[in-house]
C-alpha cells in the first residue's frame, strides 16, 4: 500500500480507530497520511471506506472516484473503489446505478485475477 513507514504507521492507527468505532479519528489519521502521500490511491480508498461506514455516501463516492483517478491500470484497487460506490448508491436508493457499479467491480476483480495468473 505504501513504501513509506510513516504512512504505514498512520494506516495502522486508522485501522485500530476504525475497528474501535472511532471513525472521525480514523479519518483524521488518513488525512495525515494523505498529506504525506497525496497521490496514493489506497489512502483515498481507505478514506472512502471510512466515509461509507459513517454514512457519508456522497463523499464516499467522490473519494472512491478520486482513488481511481490515481489508480491507472490497478484493477484490484479500482474494483474495491467500485464496491464502495456500489454500496453508497444502494444506500442512496440508486438501484440501477448500484447494479452498474457492482458489475464494474466484478469485471475489474476478474481482470485483476487474470493479471495475477
Amino acid at each position: 500500500m505504501s513504501a513509506n513507514r510513516a504512512v504505514l504507521a498512520l494506516l495502522d492507527h486508522a485501522e485500530l480507530d476504525s475497528k474501535a468505532g472511532k471513525r472521525d479519528a480514523a479519518g483524521a489519521s488518513l488525512e495525515r497520511a494523505l498529506r504525506i502521500e497525496p497521490r496514493n490511491p489506497w489512502l483515498w480508498l481507505q478514506l472512502a471506506q471510512v466515509r461509507l461506514a459513517q454514512g457519508q455516501y456522497a463523499q464516499a463516492i467522490t473519494l472512491a472516484r478520486k482513488a481511481n483517478s490515481f489508480a491507472a491500470r490497478n484493477y484490484r484497487l479500482q474494483a474495491d473503489s467500485w464496491q464502495v460506490i456500489a454500496q453508497s448508491r444502494v444506500a442512496l436508493g440508486d438501484t440501477a446505478g448500484a447494479e452498474q457499479a457492482y458489475k464494474l467491480a466484478a469485471d475489474l476483480a476478474l481482470q485483476a485475477r487474470a493479471e495475477q495468473h
Binding site: 510513516a6 504507521a9 498529506r35 504525506i36 497525496p38 463523499q59 467522490t62 472516484r65
Partner: protein, 816 residues
C-alpha cells in the same frame, strides 16, 4: 474603576450619627463600626475577587499552525528543522535531555521534543536523533538501549496567535510554567524580595509610606507585587491615604483566597508595561512581542531585565523613547540580581554589555502571520460566537506552514524591491499578495496580505478584488475542451479582428497584447500566448453565459456581468478566490474547498469540530487533463516562459499570466505536482505599475516556488485520453514512430484520423532537437536580476510565425 474611600463610605452609610450620650454612644459606634467595617470588607472582597477571577478565566482562543510531520524520507533539511525548532522556542544545550532542547551533531540533530496533547490524544516527550542526507531525513531514532527507529514524529504545532478579549486590549497570556525563571528571579529581586513569605503587604514599606505622607513628602514605594497587582486592577492616578488603605486591605484579601503562584501568574499577565496609541500593553507576554518581537520564552537575560526594569514606570523607562534611562535601569536590575547571586558575575558582565535590542517598530499584534490569522478568525466567526472565541480557551488547529509562509513573504519582499530598483519605480509603491495551498487537500499553507507581512493591515489576499484579466481564460478553454467533437488542443482558432455588439454595452473590439492579429492559431497556442481576440471569439461562440455560469461550480461565488468583456477577465476577484479556481484545475476536476482550519478543541481537550477534507467532482478528468497540458505549454513556450529562470523544465509547472488594462494588475496563477499558488502585484491606489503578469507577479511566484522546491506536475492520464503523435506546427498526425511529431493528449476519438507520412520532418537536424533553450533560460545565473532583461512582454509580443521553429524543438525536447 474607582473605589470609594473609607471615610466617604462611612459618611454615606451613617450620615445622621452624631455622638450625644458618650457611654452608650461609644458602644453603639463600636458595634456599628465593626458591622460597617465587615460590610465594607465584604464589599472589597467581592470586588477584588471579581477582578481577579475575571482576568483568570478570560482565556482567548489559541491558534496553532500545522504540526510538522518528521519521518525518514521526508523532504526536510537540517536548516528547516532548526528553523522550526527555534520557532517553537527550543534552546541549544550540550546535553539536550530536557524537553525543547537540541544539539547539533555532525549530520543532524540530537533533540528532545515537548509533550503535546493533540486532537487524537497526548504525545509524550521524546529524546531523538535525526540525520539528513541530500535534503531528506535519512534517519529518525529515539534514544534508548538500543536506539529504536521512530516511523513518524509529529512535532508540537507552533502557536501562531490568539483571539483576544476586549477592544483595545490585547494579551498574550502566559502560564507560570512557561515563564523563564530569570524573569521571576529578576522581578522578585527588584520589586518584592519577600514575596513568597509576606501576607500581601510589607509593614515596613507601609510605615515608610505613612511616615513620608505625614512628613509632607510624596507618597511612594513600599508596594508588594500583590499590592501592585491590586493597583493595576483599578488604575488611577489618585494617591491618597484611603486609597492606600483599600489597596492594603484588598492585598490581604487576595492572599487569603489565592496561592502565591496564582497571584504571581496573574501579575505577570496583568502588569501595565506601556502604551501603543490606543492599545495598552498589559503583561510580560505581550510586552515581549511589543518590544522584542519574540515570545517571552525566547528572550535573553538582559531583555528580561529590561522588561522588569520597566515595571517601575513604563512611561519613564520607555526603551524606545528614553533608551539611556532604560539601559541604566536595566543594568541596575542586573546588578541587583548579581548581588543576590541570582545570576553569576560572568552572566552579569555579559548581559550588561549588550545593547537594549528593542525592535524599533512595534508589531501590531502578537501573531507573526496577521493576514492568515484574520482569515481564520473570519472563518470561525461563521460558526462561533465572538465571545466564545475570546474567552473559552478554545484551541484552533490550522493549516499554516511557517516554512512555506516564510518563503512566500521573502519572495514578495525580495522581488518587489528588486523590480522597483530595476525599473526606477519609487520605492515601496508596489504591493503584493500571495496564496499557497496544497493541491490535493486544499489546505492553505501560506497567505501573504501585503509586502509588510508582519504588520496587520489591509489584507490584499482576501479583501482586494482586482480585475483578473487573462486568469479567467482557462475556464473558456476548458468549456471548449469539454466538447471534443468540436475542440481539441490543435483546433485552429480565428484570431482575426473582432467587433462585438451586445445590447447594454458599447461596441467591443478586443486587442491582443502585441497589437497584432494572428489569423489562424492552434487552440493551445492561443492560450499559451494569451491571445485575446481568438479567446474572446471562442468564448462568444461557446456562449458567454454558458462559460461564465461555470464559475460558481468552481467555487467562485462572485458572478461577473454577462458581457463579452468578462471573457477577458474584466471583473474583480480576490487572490484567494483565484486560488480556489485553479485548485480544481490542479486537482483533475475535483473541487476541494480551500481550508485554513483543521479542527477545534475545547480547553479541556474535547474535539469540538473537525473540518474534514471535502471533495466534489465538478469537471470531467479528461478535459481538465488537456487543459493542464495547455497550461504547461504557457510556461514551456508561451507568456510564462521566463518562469524557467526560476524553475527547471522538469517541474513542468502549469500556469497563466494575467495583465490588466494599462498594466494596473499583474497576476500569476499556477500549480505544480503538490502546490497551487496565486500571486497578485499592483498598487493600492490602482495606478499603472508598468508590469505584465510575467514581469511582476510571475517573478514572485518563481522565486517563492524555487525555494519551496515543488514536486513535478505529472497528472495521471485519465482512461478516456490518449497521446497522439502530432506535427506541432501544422497539427497533422504522424505515425507513432515519426520523430518529427510530438505526443499531444486527445480525448479518445477526437484526434485527427488521417496519418501523414513523416518524410519531411524526419530531416530536422539532430542538433536542434538536442538543446534548444530559449534566450530566457540562458540567463539563469542570476535570476533575480536578469529576469528584468527578459520581460514577458517580449515573449507575449512574439508573433506566431517567429516563435514557431523554436517552439517545435521545445515540444520535442519535452515530450521525448
Amino acid at each position: 474603576m474607582k473605589l470609594p474611600s473609607l471615610v466617604s463610605a462611612w459618611n454615606r452609610l451613617f450620615p445622621h450619627l452624631k455622638p450625644r450620650m458618650p457611654g452608650k454612644a461609644v458602644r453603639v459606634v463600636a458595634l456599628l463600626l465593626l458591622l460597617g467595617l465587615s460590610g465594607y470588607i465584604y464589599y472589597l472582597d467581592t470586588t477584588i475577587r471579581e477582578a481577579f477571577e475575571g482576568r483568570k478565566f478570560a482565556l482567548p482562543a489559541r491558534v496553532y499552525g500545522r504540526a510538522l510531520e518528521v519521518y525518514a524520507g521526508a523532504k526536510l533539511t537540517r536548516e528547516q528543522l532548526l528553523e522550526e525548532l527555534k520557532g517553537l522556542g527550543y534552546h541549544e544545550n550540550p546535553e539536550p535531555q530536557e524537553p525543547a532542547t537540541y544539539k547539533l551533531t555532525l549530520t543532524g540533530l540530537d533533540f528532545t521534543s515537548r509533550a503535546f496533547v493533540f486532537t487524537d490524544g497526548p504525545q509524550p516527550s521524546q529524546h531523538l536523533r535525526i540525520e539528513f542526507n541530500e535534503g531528506t531525513v535519512s534517519l529518525l531514532q529515539e534514544h534508548g538501549t538500543p536506539d529504536v527507529d521512530v516511523p513518524l514524529l509529529r512535532l508540537e504545532p507552533p502557536l501562531i496567535g490568539g483571539i483576544y478579549p476586549g477592544h483595545n486590549e490585547d494579551r498574550d497570556l502566559v502560564r507560570l510554567d512557561q515563564v523563564p525563571k530569570t524573569l521571576i528571579d529578576a522581578l522578585i529581586t527588584t520589586e518584592d524580595r519577600k514575596f513568597y513569605t509576606h501576607w500581601g503587604i510589607d509593614p515596613r514599606g507601609i510605615a515608610r509610606a505613612v511616615f513620608k505622607t505625614v512628613s509632607g513628602q510624596r507618597i511612594e514605594g513600599g508596594s508588594t507585587l500583590t499590592q501592585q497587582l491590586v493597583k493595576n486592577f483599578f488604575l488611577t492616578s489618585e494617591r491618597t491615604l484611603s486609597r492606600k488603605a483599600n489597596e492594603v486591605l484588598m492585598s490581604l484579601l487576595l492572599e487569603l483566597h489565592y496561592s502565591k503562584d496564582e497571584i504571581l501568574e496573574t501579575y505577570l499577565n496583568e502588569i501595565f508595561l506601556g502604551q501603543d496609541a490606543s492599545r495598552a500593553i498589559h503583561g510580560f507576554g505581550l510586552a515581549s512581542h511589543f518590544y522584542f518581537d519574540r515570545p517571552l520564552d525566547r528572550l535573553e537575560l538582559q531583555e528580561v531585565a529590561t522588561l522588569v526594569g520597566m515595571v517601575k514606570g513604563p512611561a519613564v523607562y520607555d526603551p524606545r523613547k528614553k533608551p539611556e534611562l532604560t539601559l541604566e535601569r536595566r543594568n541596575l536590575v542586573l546588578k541587583e540580581m548579581a548581588a543576590l547571586n541570582v545570576i553569576t558575575q560572568s552572566q552579569f558582565l555579559a548581559a550588561r554589555n549588550k545593547p537594549l535590542g528593542v525592535v524599533q517598530r512595534a508589531p501590531t499584534g502578537t501573531s507573526p502571520y496577521p493576514a492568515f490569522l484574520q482569515f481564520v478568525h473570519r472563518q470561525l466567526q461563521r460558526d462561533y460566537r465572538e465571545e466564545d472565541l475570546r474567552s473559552e480557551g478554545l484551541r484552533i488547529f490550522t493549516t499554516l506552514d511557517p516554512l512555506v509562509q516564510r518563503q512566500a513573504e521573502a519572495a514578495v519582499q525580495m522581488r518587489l524591491g528588486a523590480i522597483e530598483k530595476a525599473r526606477k519605480i519609487s520605492p515601496n509603491t508596489l504591493e503584493g499578495a500571495v496564496v499557497v495551498s496544497s493541491t490535493q487537500t486544499g489546505e492553505i499553507q501560506a497567505l501573504v496580505g501585503g509586502r509588510e507581512a508582519r504588520f496587520a493591515g489591509f489584507n490584499r489576499a482576501v479583501d482586494t478584488q482586482r480585475p483578473i484579466g487573462s486568469l479567467v481564460k482557462p475556464i473558456i478553454y476548458l468549456s471548449a475542451l469539454e466538447d471534443p467533437v468540436h475542440y481539441t488542443l490543435i483546433t485552429p482558432l480565428d484570431d482575426s479582428p473582432l467587433l462585438w455588439r451586445q445590447p447594454g454595452t458599447s461596441d467591443w473590439k478586443p486587442q491582443n497584447y502585441d497589437r497584432k492579429f494572428h489569423d489562424q492559431v492552434q487552440l493551445r497556442t492561443a492560450l499559451a500566448h494569451s491571445y485575446n481576440v481568438s479567446t474572446a471569439r471562442l468564448g462568444i461562440n461557446l456562449g458567454i453565459e454558458r462559460v461564465l455560469d461555470k464559475l460558481p461550480r468552481f467555487g467562485i461565488e462572485h458572478q461577473p456581468a454577462p458581457f463579452a468583456s468578462s471573457l477577458l477577465g474584466a471583473f474583480g476577484l480576490a487572490p484567494v478566490e483565484v486560488a480556489q479556481l485553479y485548485q480544481t484545475f490542479a486537482d483533475g476536476g475535483f473541487r476541494t474547498p480551500l481550508r485554513a482550519i483543521r479542527s477545534i478543541v475545547t480547553a479541556d481537550g474535547k474535539t469540538l469540530q473537525r473540518y474534514p477534507l471535502n471533495v466534489e467532482p465538478v469537471a470531467a478528468a479528461g478535459p481538465v487533463y488537456l487543459l493542464t497540458a495547455a497550461l504547461q505549454g504557457v510556461v514551456r513556450e508561451g507568456t510564462g516562459q521566463p518562469l524557467l529562470n526560476w524553475l527547471p523544465p522538469e517541474i513542468k509547472a502549469a500556469g497563466k499570466t494575467g495583465t490588466t488594462d494599462d498594466l494596473r494588475d499583474s497576476w500569476f496563477a499556477g500549480y505544480t505536482g503538490d502546490r497551487v499558488a496565486v500571486v497578485w502585484v499592483g498598487r493600492d491606489d490602482n495606478k499603472p505599475t508598468g508590469l505584465t503578469g510575467a514581469s511582476g507577479a510571475m517573478t514572485v511566484w518563481g522565486e517563492m516556488m524555487k525555494n519551496i522546491q515543488p514536486e513535478p506536475l505529472e497528472p495521471v492520464m485519465p482512461e478516456d485520453v490518449e497521446l497522439v503523435n502530432i506535427d506541432p506546427a501544422s497539427g497533422v498526425r504522424y505515425d507513432d514512430s515519426c520523430k518529427g511529431g510530438v505526443p499531444l493528449p486527445f480525448i479518445k476519438g477526437s484526434a485527427p484520423t488521417e496519418i501523414t507520412p513523416c518524410a519531411v520532418l524526419a530531416e530536422v537536424p539532430k542538433s536542434s532537437t538536442v538543446e534548444v533553450i530559449p534566450a530566457a533560460v540562458k540567463t539563469e545565473a542570476k535570476p533575480g536580476v536578469k529576469a528584468e532583461v527578459v520581460p514577458a512582454a517580449k515573449a507575449e509580443a512574439k508573433s506566431g510565425s517567429k516563435a514557431e521553429p523554436e517552439k517545435k524543438n521545445w515540444l520535442q525536447r519535452l515530450f521525448n
